[in-house]
Protein backbone atom coordinates (compact mmCIF):
# COMPACT_ATOMS: atom_id res chain seq x y z
CA UNK A 1 0.00 0.00 0.00
CA UNK A 2 2.90 2.28 0.77
CA UNK A 3 4.04 1.98 -2.80
CA UNK A 4 0.71 3.03 -4.10
CA UNK A 5 0.53 6.05 -1.85
CA UNK A 6 4.00 7.09 -2.85
CA UNK A 7 3.34 6.66 -6.52
CA UNK A 8 0.08 8.56 -6.23
CA UNK A 9 2.07 11.40 -4.76
CA UNK A 10 4.12 11.45 -7.91
CA UNK A 11 0.94 11.27 -9.93
CA UNK A 12 -0.03 7.69 -10.59
CA UNK A 13 -1.43 6.73 -13.92
CA UNK A 14 0.75 9.16 -15.80
CA UNK A 15 1.97 8.16 -19.21
CA UNK A 16 5.23 7.27 -17.52
CA UNK A 17 3.38 5.16 -14.94
CA UNK A 18 3.84 1.49 -15.60
CA UNK A 19 0.89 -0.30 -17.07
CA UNK A 20 1.52 -3.34 -14.87
CA UNK A 21 1.34 -1.10 -11.77
CA UNK A 22 -1.85 0.47 -13.00
CA UNK A 23 -3.47 -2.89 -13.58
CA UNK A 24 -2.34 -3.99 -10.14
CA UNK A 25 -3.85 -0.83 -8.67
CA UNK A 26 -7.15 -1.65 -10.34
CA UNK A 27 -6.75 -5.19 -9.04
CA UNK A 28 -7.29 -6.55 -12.54
CA UNK A 29 -6.09 -10.13 -12.60
CA UNK A 30 -5.88 -12.83 -15.24
CA UNK A 31 -9.17 -14.14 -13.88
CA UNK A 32 -10.80 -10.81 -14.65
CA UNK A 33 -9.52 -10.85 -18.20
CA UNK A 34 -10.79 -14.39 -18.71
CA UNK A 35 -14.16 -13.42 -17.27
CA UNK A 36 -14.44 -10.50 -19.66
CA UNK A 37 -13.36 -12.61 -22.57
CA UNK A 38 -16.19 -15.01 -21.83
CA UNK A 39 -18.45 -12.16 -22.90
CA UNK A 40 -16.55 -11.54 -26.10
CA UNK A 41 -18.39 -14.17 -28.12
CA UNK A 42 -21.70 -12.49 -27.44
CA UNK A 43 -20.32 -8.95 -27.37
CA UNK A 44 -22.02 -7.68 -30.50
CA UNK A 45 -25.28 -9.31 -29.65
CA UNK A 46 -25.17 -7.75 -26.19
CA UNK A 47 -23.88 -4.37 -27.21
CA UNK A 48 -25.98 -3.54 -30.25
CA UNK A 49 -29.30 -3.02 -28.47
CA UNK A 50 -27.55 -1.14 -25.66
CA UNK A 51 -25.90 1.17 -28.14
CA UNK A 52 -29.28 1.81 -29.78
CA UNK A 53 -30.77 2.64 -26.39
CA UNK A 54 -27.81 4.77 -25.51
CA UNK A 55 -28.01 6.95 -28.59
CA UNK A 56 -31.73 7.36 -28.13
CA UNK A 57 -30.92 8.51 -24.59
CA UNK A 58 -28.09 10.75 -25.74
CA UNK A 59 -30.05 12.35 -28.54
CA UNK A 60 -32.89 13.15 -26.18
CA UNK A 61 -30.61 15.90 -24.90
CA UNK A 62 -30.69 18.92 -27.12
CA UNK A 63 -27.12 19.89 -26.26
CA UNK A 64 -25.85 16.49 -27.31
CA UNK A 65 -27.96 16.46 -30.44
CA UNK A 66 -26.20 19.56 -31.69
CA UNK A 67 -22.92 17.64 -31.79
CA UNK A 68 -24.22 15.32 -34.46
CA UNK A 69 -24.84 16.20 -38.04
CA UNK A 70 -27.22 13.75 -39.65
CA UNK A 71 -28.00 10.06 -39.53
CA UNK A 72 -24.88 9.05 -41.35
CA UNK A 73 -22.62 10.47 -38.71
CA UNK A 74 -24.66 8.86 -35.95
CA UNK A 75 -24.37 5.49 -37.70
CA UNK A 76 -20.61 5.93 -37.86
CA UNK A 77 -20.35 6.84 -34.20
CA UNK A 78 -22.42 3.79 -33.31
CA UNK A 79 -20.02 1.57 -35.22
CA UNK A 80 -17.14 3.15 -33.35
CA UNK A 81 -18.97 2.53 -30.13
CA UNK A 82 -19.41 -1.15 -30.96
CA UNK A 83 -15.71 -1.47 -31.65
CA UNK A 84 -14.96 0.26 -28.37
CA UNK A 85 -17.12 -2.24 -26.56
CA UNK A 86 -15.61 -5.24 -28.35
CA UNK A 87 -12.17 -4.06 -27.34
CA UNK A 88 -13.31 -3.66 -23.77
CA UNK A 89 -14.36 -7.29 -23.41
CA UNK A 90 -11.61 -8.79 -25.50
CA UNK A 91 -9.32 -6.58 -23.51
CA UNK A 92 -5.72 -7.28 -24.19
CA UNK A 93 -5.04 -4.28 -21.91
CA UNK A 94 -1.59 -3.77 -23.36
CA UNK A 95 0.30 -0.61 -24.27
CA UNK A 96 -1.43 -0.40 -27.65
CA UNK A 97 -4.78 -0.61 -26.00
CA UNK A 98 -3.89 2.15 -23.56
CA UNK A 99 -2.56 4.38 -26.33
CA UNK A 100 -5.73 3.86 -28.28
CA UNK A 101 -7.93 4.66 -25.25
CA UNK A 102 -5.96 7.80 -24.58
CA UNK A 103 -6.33 8.91 -28.15
CA UNK A 104 -10.08 8.43 -27.91
CA UNK A 105 -10.07 10.35 -24.64
CA UNK A 106 -8.23 13.20 -26.35
CA UNK A 107 -10.75 13.31 -29.17
CA UNK A 108 -13.59 13.53 -26.67
CA UNK A 109 -11.85 16.14 -24.56
CA UNK A 110 -11.23 18.31 -27.59
CA UNK A 111 -14.84 17.90 -28.70
CA UNK A 112 -15.99 19.25 -25.35
CA UNK A 113 -17.32 15.97 -23.93
CA UNK A 114 -17.20 16.63 -20.19
CA UNK A 115 -16.15 14.06 -17.56
CA UNK A 116 -19.78 14.04 -16.42
CA UNK A 117 -20.92 12.95 -19.88
CA UNK A 118 -18.11 10.42 -20.03
CA UNK A 119 -18.72 8.79 -16.68
CA UNK A 120 -22.47 9.00 -17.19
CA UNK A 121 -22.17 7.11 -20.47
CA UNK A 122 -20.20 4.37 -18.75
CA UNK A 123 -22.75 4.12 -15.98
CA UNK A 124 -25.50 3.84 -18.57
CA UNK A 125 -23.68 1.06 -20.40
CA UNK A 126 -22.73 -0.94 -17.35
CA UNK A 127 -26.20 -0.77 -15.95
CA UNK A 128 -27.89 -1.96 -19.13
CA UNK A 129 -25.18 -4.51 -19.72
CA UNK A 130 -25.65 -5.91 -16.23
CA UNK A 131 -29.31 -6.52 -16.86
CA UNK A 132 -28.68 -8.15 -20.21
CA UNK A 133 -25.96 -10.44 -18.96
CA UNK A 134 -28.09 -11.48 -16.00
CA UNK A 135 -31.00 -12.17 -18.34
CA UNK A 136 -28.82 -14.15 -20.68
CA UNK A 137 -27.34 -16.20 -17.88
CA UNK A 138 -30.43 -16.55 -15.76
CA UNK A 139 -29.81 -20.26 -15.46
CA UNK A 140 -26.41 -19.61 -14.02
CA UNK A 141 -26.55 -16.41 -11.96
CA UNK A 142 -23.66 -17.59 -9.78
CA UNK A 143 -21.37 -17.17 -12.75
CA UNK A 144 -22.94 -14.04 -14.10
CA UNK A 145 -22.14 -11.87 -11.09
CA UNK A 146 -18.34 -12.41 -10.95
CA UNK A 147 -18.27 -11.95 -14.68
CA UNK A 148 -19.96 -8.59 -14.40
CA UNK A 149 -17.81 -7.52 -11.50
CA UNK A 150 -14.72 -8.21 -13.56
CA UNK A 151 -16.12 -6.21 -16.40
CA UNK A 152 -16.83 -3.32 -14.06
CA UNK A 153 -13.19 -3.29 -12.96
CA UNK A 154 -11.96 -3.24 -16.52
CA UNK A 155 -14.46 -0.54 -17.43
CA UNK A 156 -13.17 1.61 -14.58
CA UNK A 157 -9.62 1.13 -15.75
CA UNK A 158 -10.81 2.15 -19.18
CA UNK A 159 -12.49 5.24 -17.80
CA UNK A 160 -9.35 6.19 -15.90
CA UNK A 161 -7.35 6.19 -19.11
CA UNK A 162 -9.73 8.58 -20.76
CA UNK A 163 -9.91 10.86 -17.74
CA UNK A 164 -6.14 10.97 -17.45
CA UNK A 165 -6.04 12.45 -20.92
CA UNK A 166 -8.50 15.09 -19.75
CA UNK A 167 -6.25 16.05 -16.89
CA UNK A 168 -3.20 16.06 -19.13
CA UNK A 169 -4.94 18.26 -21.67
CA UNK A 170 -5.89 20.75 -18.95
CA UNK A 171 -2.40 20.69 -17.50
CA UNK A 172 -0.95 21.34 -20.91
CA UNK A 173 -3.28 24.31 -21.25
CA UNK A 174 -2.30 25.66 -17.84
CA UNK A 175 1.37 25.20 -18.60
CA UNK A 176 0.98 27.04 -21.86
CA UNK A 177 -0.83 29.89 -20.10
CA UNK A 178 1.95 30.04 -17.55
CA UNK A 179 4.45 30.13 -20.34
CA UNK A 180 2.51 32.92 -22.03
CA UNK A 181 2.33 34.83 -18.77
CA UNK A 182 6.03 34.45 -18.26
CA UNK A 183 6.61 35.70 -21.77
CA UNK A 184 4.56 38.81 -21.12
CA UNK A 185 6.87 41.61 -22.08
CA UNK A 186 8.46 43.12 -19.02
CA UNK A 187 7.83 46.83 -19.53
CA UNK A 188 10.77 49.15 -19.28
CA UNK A 189 9.46 52.59 -18.38
CA UNK A 190 11.54 55.69 -18.82
CA UNK A 191 10.75 58.05 -15.94
CA UNK A 192 13.10 60.77 -17.09
CA UNK A 193 16.37 60.97 -18.95
CA UNK A 194 18.68 58.31 -17.63
CA UNK A 195 16.16 56.84 -15.18
CA UNK A 196 14.25 53.61 -15.84
CA UNK A 197 11.52 51.84 -13.91
CA UNK A 198 10.93 48.11 -14.38
CA UNK A 199 7.93 46.62 -12.60
CA UNK A 200 8.31 42.85 -12.24
CA UNK A 201 5.09 40.85 -11.92
CA UNK A 202 4.36 37.17 -11.43
CA UNK A 203 6.70 34.31 -10.66
CA UNK A 204 10.36 34.97 -11.21
CA UNK A 205 11.55 31.60 -12.46
CA UNK A 206 14.91 31.17 -14.10
CA UNK A 207 13.45 31.64 -17.56
CA UNK A 208 11.84 34.94 -16.63
CA UNK A 209 14.86 36.03 -14.67
CA UNK A 210 17.00 35.63 -17.77
CA UNK A 211 14.61 37.61 -19.92
CA UNK A 212 14.41 40.27 -17.20
CA UNK A 213 18.19 40.62 -17.24
CA UNK A 214 18.21 40.94 -21.01
CA UNK A 215 15.40 43.51 -20.93
CA UNK A 216 17.13 45.55 -18.29
CA UNK A 217 20.45 45.58 -20.09
CA UNK A 218 18.83 46.45 -23.41
CA UNK A 219 16.87 49.20 -21.67
CA UNK A 220 20.02 50.63 -20.15
CA UNK A 221 21.75 50.62 -23.53
CA UNK A 222 18.81 52.00 -25.52
CA UNK A 223 17.97 54.77 -23.06
CA UNK A 224 21.53 55.42 -21.96
CA UNK A 225 20.22 54.96 -18.44
CA UNK A 226 22.36 55.50 -15.38
CA UNK A 227 19.82 54.50 -12.75
CA UNK A 228 17.19 51.78 -12.67
CA UNK A 229 14.41 51.08 -10.20
CA UNK A 230 13.34 47.43 -10.06
CA UNK A 231 9.96 47.09 -8.37
CA UNK A 232 9.05 43.58 -7.24
CA UNK A 233 5.79 44.34 -5.42
CA UNK A 234 4.07 42.03 -7.88
CA UNK A 235 6.40 39.07 -7.49
CA UNK A 236 4.51 36.17 -5.94
CA UNK A 237 7.28 34.46 -3.98
CA UNK A 238 10.62 35.88 -2.96
CA UNK A 239 13.19 33.37 -1.76
CA UNK A 240 16.90 32.85 -2.15
CA UNK A 241 16.56 31.77 -5.78
CA UNK A 242 14.68 34.96 -6.66
CA UNK A 243 17.16 37.01 -4.63
CA UNK A 244 19.94 35.35 -6.59
CA UNK A 245 18.31 36.28 -9.89
CA UNK A 246 17.90 39.86 -8.74
CA UNK A 247 21.49 40.11 -7.50
CA UNK A 248 22.76 38.85 -10.84
CA UNK A 249 20.53 41.23 -12.77
CA UNK A 250 21.60 44.22 -10.67
CA UNK A 251 25.23 43.24 -10.92
CA UNK A 252 24.92 43.05 -14.70
CA UNK A 253 23.34 46.52 -14.68
CA UNK A 254 26.28 47.86 -12.70
CA UNK A 255 28.66 46.44 -15.28
CA UNK A 256 26.73 48.44 -17.87
CA UNK A 257 27.31 51.56 -15.82
CA UNK A 258 23.89 51.88 -14.22
CA UNK A 259 23.06 51.77 -10.53
CA UNK A 260 19.89 50.02 -9.50
CA UNK A 261 17.49 50.18 -6.59
CA UNK A 262 15.19 47.37 -5.56
CA UNK A 263 11.75 48.26 -4.21
CA UNK A 264 8.65 46.41 -3.20
CA UNK A 265 10.21 43.99 -0.75
CA UNK A 266 7.91 43.67 2.26
CA UNK A 267 9.38 43.97 5.74
CA UNK A 268 8.55 40.34 6.52
CA UNK A 269 10.13 39.00 3.36
CA UNK A 270 13.22 41.14 3.90
CA UNK A 271 13.61 39.68 7.38
CA UNK A 272 13.18 36.16 6.13
CA UNK A 273 15.76 36.65 3.39
CA UNK A 274 18.30 37.97 5.89
CA UNK A 275 17.69 34.97 8.17
CA UNK A 276 18.21 32.64 5.27
CA UNK A 277 21.53 34.28 4.63
CA UNK A 278 20.94 36.67 1.76
CA UNK A 279 23.13 39.64 2.54
CA UNK A 280 21.84 43.07 1.68
CA UNK A 281 25.20 44.20 0.36
CA UNK A 282 24.59 43.09 -3.17
CA UNK A 283 21.11 44.57 -3.21
CA UNK A 284 20.45 48.28 -2.82
CA UNK A 285 16.88 48.50 -1.59
CA UNK A 286 14.34 51.17 -0.75
CA UNK A 287 11.30 50.87 1.46
CA UNK A 288 8.79 51.68 -1.25
CA UNK A 289 8.57 52.70 -4.87
CA UNK A 290 8.52 56.43 -4.13
CA UNK A 291 11.65 56.26 -2.01
CA UNK A 292 13.24 54.05 -4.64
CA UNK A 293 12.64 56.65 -7.33
CA UNK A 294 13.93 59.45 -5.07
CA UNK A 295 17.02 57.39 -4.33
CA UNK A 296 17.60 56.75 -8.04
CA UNK A 297 17.17 60.45 -8.81
CA UNK A 298 19.80 61.32 -6.23
CA UNK A 299 22.13 58.83 -7.91
CA UNK A 300 21.58 60.62 -11.22
CA UNK A 301 22.10 64.07 -9.77
CA UNK A 302 24.94 63.10 -7.53
Amino acid sequence: MDDIIASSAGGHGRPGGHLADQLRWFDITETDRRQAEALAVTADELAEPIIEDFYAHLLSFEDARRHFRGEEQIARVKQGQLKYFRELVSASLDEDYVRNRRRIGQIHERAGVTPTLYVGAYAYYLHRLGHRVMAKMQDDPAHALPLLLSLIKIAHFDMSQALETYVEAREATIEQREREMSELPTPVLKLRDGLLLIPVVGTLDSYRARSLTVKLLEGIRDHRARAVVLDITGVAAVDSAVANHLIQTMTAARLMGASSVLTGLSAEVAQALVKIGVTGEALRTAGDLQHGIEMAERMLDG
Binding site: A9, S240, A272, I276, V278
Partner: protein
Protein backbone atom coordinates in the same frame (compact mmCIF):
# COMPACT_ATOMS: atom_id res chain seq x y z
CA UNK B 1 -10.70 14.86 -2.84
CA UNK B 2 -8.09 12.13 -2.50
CA UNK B 3 -7.88 12.72 1.22
CA UNK B 4 -11.40 11.39 1.57
CA UNK B 5 -10.30 8.11 0.02
CA UNK B 6 -7.39 7.83 2.39
CA UNK B 7 -4.93 7.88 -0.47
CA UNK B 8 -2.89 10.85 0.60
CA UNK B 9 -2.52 12.76 3.82
CA UNK B 10 -4.45 15.97 4.01
CA UNK B 11 -2.66 19.16 3.09
CA UNK B 12 -0.19 17.77 0.64
CA UNK B 13 0.93 19.78 -2.33
CA UNK B 14 2.58 18.09 -5.27
CA UNK B 15 5.62 20.00 -6.49
CA UNK B 16 6.38 19.81 -10.18
CA UNK B 17 6.75 23.35 -11.44
CA UNK B 18 7.20 26.93 -10.35
CA UNK B 19 3.47 27.45 -9.91
CA UNK B 20 3.42 24.65 -7.33
CA UNK B 21 6.09 26.45 -5.32
CA UNK B 22 3.78 29.43 -4.97
CA UNK B 23 0.84 27.15 -4.10
CA UNK B 24 2.87 25.38 -1.39
CA UNK B 25 3.90 28.72 0.08
CA UNK B 26 0.29 29.81 0.26
CA UNK B 27 -0.87 26.61 1.95
CA UNK B 28 1.95 26.86 4.49
CA UNK B 29 1.37 30.53 5.19
CA UNK B 30 -2.33 29.93 5.60
CA UNK B 31 -1.79 27.06 8.03
CA UNK B 32 0.82 29.05 9.94
CA UNK B 33 -1.66 31.91 10.28
CA UNK B 34 -4.31 29.49 11.53
CA UNK B 35 -1.95 28.13 14.17
CA UNK B 36 -1.36 31.70 15.26
CA UNK B 37 2.17 32.47 14.07
CA UNK B 38 3.00 36.17 13.82
CA UNK B 39 3.27 37.75 10.40
CA UNK B 40 7.07 37.80 10.35
CA UNK B 41 7.06 34.15 11.42
CA UNK B 42 4.59 33.34 8.65
CA UNK B 43 6.96 34.93 6.16
CA UNK B 44 9.84 32.85 7.55
CA UNK B 45 7.83 29.66 7.21
CA UNK B 46 6.71 30.59 3.70
CA UNK B 47 10.30 31.28 2.72
CA UNK B 48 11.47 27.95 4.12
CA UNK B 49 8.74 26.19 2.13
CA UNK B 50 9.82 28.11 -0.93
CA UNK B 51 13.41 26.94 -0.56
CA UNK B 52 12.39 23.32 -0.05
CA UNK B 53 9.93 23.37 -2.95
CA UNK B 54 12.37 25.06 -5.29
CA UNK B 55 14.98 22.44 -4.48
CA UNK B 56 12.53 19.76 -5.58
CA UNK B 57 11.78 21.55 -8.86
CA UNK B 58 15.47 22.22 -9.51
CA UNK B 59 17.01 18.90 -8.56
CA UNK B 60 14.33 16.22 -8.46
CA UNK B 61 11.69 17.53 -10.89
CA UNK B 62 8.86 16.02 -8.91
CA UNK B 63 7.94 15.58 -5.28
CA UNK B 64 5.51 16.58 -2.57
CA UNK B 65 5.31 18.89 0.40
CA UNK B 66 3.09 17.87 3.28
CA UNK B 67 1.92 20.18 6.05
CA UNK B 68 0.76 19.34 9.53
CA UNK B 69 0.01 20.98 12.82
CA UNK B 70 2.04 19.48 15.64
CA UNK B 71 1.86 19.85 19.40
CA UNK B 72 4.35 19.19 22.17
CA UNK B 73 4.21 20.25 25.80
CA UNK B 74 1.17 22.38 25.08
CA UNK B 75 3.12 24.17 22.42
CA UNK B 76 1.87 24.32 18.87
CA UNK B 77 3.91 24.24 15.73
CA UNK B 78 3.92 23.51 12.05
CA UNK B 79 5.66 20.56 10.49
CA UNK B 80 6.63 20.53 6.84
CA UNK B 81 7.86 17.43 5.07
CA UNK B 82 9.41 17.83 1.63
CA UNK B 83 9.88 14.58 -0.19
CA UNK B 84 11.14 13.65 -3.60
CA UNK B 85 12.29 10.60 -5.50
CA UNK B 86 15.06 12.38 -7.31
CA UNK B 87 18.74 11.56 -7.53
CA UNK B 88 19.33 12.30 -3.85
CA UNK B 89 22.19 14.29 -2.37
CA UNK B 90 25.56 12.51 -2.50
CA UNK B 91 27.23 14.71 0.10
CA UNK B 92 24.80 15.91 2.77
CA UNK B 93 27.51 17.65 4.72
CA UNK B 94 28.49 19.79 1.74
CA UNK B 95 24.87 20.51 0.89
CA UNK B 96 24.39 21.94 4.38
CA UNK B 97 27.26 24.38 3.94
CA UNK B 98 26.50 28.01 3.11
CA UNK B 99 27.40 28.82 -0.45
CA UNK B 100 27.59 25.23 -1.62
CA UNK B 101 25.55 24.61 -4.72
CA UNK B 102 25.67 22.14 -7.56
CA UNK B 103 23.25 24.36 -9.47
CA UNK B 104 23.68 28.00 -10.23
CA UNK B 105 22.27 29.29 -6.96
CA UNK B 106 23.33 31.11 -3.84
CA UNK B 107 23.64 27.81 -2.02
CA UNK B 108 21.62 29.09 0.90
CA UNK B 109 18.52 26.98 0.49
CA UNK B 110 19.18 24.12 2.90
CA UNK B 111 21.41 25.82 5.49
CA UNK B 112 19.16 28.89 5.33
CA UNK B 113 16.08 26.76 5.91
CA UNK B 114 17.80 25.11 8.86
CA UNK B 115 18.53 28.56 10.31
CA UNK B 116 14.96 29.75 10.17
CA UNK B 117 13.29 26.58 11.45
CA UNK B 118 13.54 25.12 14.96
CA UNK B 119 13.98 21.53 13.91
CA UNK B 120 15.59 20.27 10.76
CA UNK B 121 16.12 16.73 9.60
CA UNK B 122 17.40 15.67 6.22
CA UNK B 123 17.70 12.16 4.90
CA UNK B 124 18.89 11.16 1.52
CA UNK B 125 19.67 7.92 -0.12
CA UNK B 126 21.57 8.55 -3.34
CA UNK B 127 19.44 7.44 -6.24
CA UNK B 128 16.28 7.25 -4.15
CA UNK B 129 15.51 10.80 -3.19
CA UNK B 130 15.52 13.28 -0.36
CA UNK B 131 13.24 13.80 2.61
CA UNK B 132 13.51 17.01 4.57
CA UNK B 133 11.42 17.43 7.71
CA UNK B 134 11.30 20.81 9.41
CA UNK B 135 9.34 22.08 12.39
CA UNK B 136 8.75 25.60 13.59
CA UNK B 137 7.37 26.07 17.09
CA UNK B 138 5.23 29.03 18.01
CA UNK B 139 7.13 31.36 20.30
CA UNK B 140 5.58 31.66 23.75
Amino acid sequence: MMAGLGLAPEQTQRIERDGDVVAARQIGRHLAAEIGFSRPEQALIATAISELARNIVSYAERGTIAFATVERDLRQGIRIVAEDRGPGIPDLHAAMTDGFSTGNSLGLGLPGTQRIMDEFDIRSIPGEGVTVTVVKWKSR
